[in-house]
Symmetry: C2
Subunit: 241 residues, 2 copies
């Protein structure tokens, strides 16, 4: 029935429509902000049903390539944002994916009483107990990250008894808590005196610092400050519509 009755599986209709529209967008056939063909036009052009055309358009919309307005039409997106998925992986996984060796040194592991600021960041009342670890992660014996982490005991009661030279905190928490939401900020700053010593860099060497908070549906699981020596670590990513 369909054109392509050959060996390789025929391209689904909705994919054909998507490809047609993407191609046109790449060629500026519909410059940003202008009107694109309506569902009805595409139905007629491709000889397929509206559900199928609708699926193609809906997917393009969720990819951010077009904007759709009920009652008005579909429009080529301005594409004035370059957005890309920044994936934050477990550092151990990342190092091993590069074929390198990961090692962790635990410098601190204790139950402490939260100060006012920390307690409010974790959604606890002041001076309630929190778990605190400070761990340095090495890639092939070169220090790559200093991880200062506070954990809400209610979310991971077993946390404080782990041997973090064997399992990373990130991995442990992924396995034993129901992650629901995460927030992060990334900035550049100088390390503290202690961080510089642990990372074996000078205090004047700039660092990439990520502060991350993760949540279950109702509570804060953990607050982590991850400090990376500037020259040794970089985030990278790609955007491809």
């Amino acid at each position: 029935m369909r054109a392509q009755d050959s060996l390789l599986p025929a391209e689904p209709s909705f994919a054909r429509v998507k490809r047609y529209l993407k191609q046109g967008l790449a060629e500026q056939r519909w410059p940003p902000g202008t009107r694109m063909p309506s569902e009805a036009q595409l139905v007629a052009q491709f000889g397929i049903s509206r559900m199928t055309v609708g699926r193609a358009l809906k997917e393009l919309q969720s990819e951010g390539l077009i904007d759709r307005v009920q009652g008005v039409g579909s429009f080529a997106a301005a594409l004035h944002r370059v957005s890309s998925t920044l994936t934050i992986r477990d550092l151990q996984e990342e190092i091993e994916a590069r074929g390198h060796r990961h090692r962790a040194e635990v410098h601190h592991q204790a139950v402490e009483r939260a100060g006012r600021d920390l307690a409010s960041q974790l959604g606890l009342s002041a001076s309630s107990p929190v778990f605190h670890t400070r761990i340095v992660h090495f890639e092939n014996d070169q220090p790559l990250q200093c991880e200062d982490r506070y954990v809400n005991p209610a979310c991971a009661p077993g946390y404080i008894d782990q041997d973090f030279s064997r399992i990373t905190p990130t991995r442990y928490l992924f396995r034993h808590t129901a992650l629901w939401r995460a927030q992060y900020t990334i900035e550049s700053a100088l390390p503290t005196f202690q961080e510089a010593r642990l990372l074996r860099i000078r205090r004047a060497d700039p660092c990439l610092i990520m502060v991350r908070r993760t949540f279950t549906r109702d509570a804060v699981i953990t607050l982590a400050r991850l400090v990376h020596p500037g020259g040794r670590y970089q985030l990278s990513g790609e955007f491809n519509p």
Copy 2:
């Protein structure tokens, strides 16, 4: 007909199914890797058609919350990566969204001959002409970004004649080229002598540096080095399944 015949618009069926499944995932009713209800089961449970259930599952899959395998079933995703969409907006837009004033100082704007490295990064032959601009962006008269940019003349011939105190290079290029792909890396480092002077910071002040390359379908459009004073600029984002 449907339960909710009230004032506020009823929640669409596919959204109800999504909410039900998300809730269950958050409560670990289906721990990572285990089997979730099949389409047929959800059809029976909610009394709706398979297309509608399928839409809910498809969207959860594209959000990375579940894995689906034809002939086998749907499974709760491992969720062992925190991934989030890092959106890189035009700086002027970002500043104005904060309700602040944007201003740009153009310090350099010329046609130059590309050196070997630069030429290869732009996909040009050595010593071909390239456009080069250096612009400092201010938020409320405080320098926020030093933008060093090389542009492929073939992609944006009019670039070099623009008045970049009136339109940012990012915005100009978005409007006049067909962006197809972008790559970036983010790292922390010290500014060059010149950058420190333009940003009115000391050479020892750490900076967040983003290097970005953008492409049309076939060629490199531009290579930009964006330097931000560490304390004044941070990337932030959120992940929410």
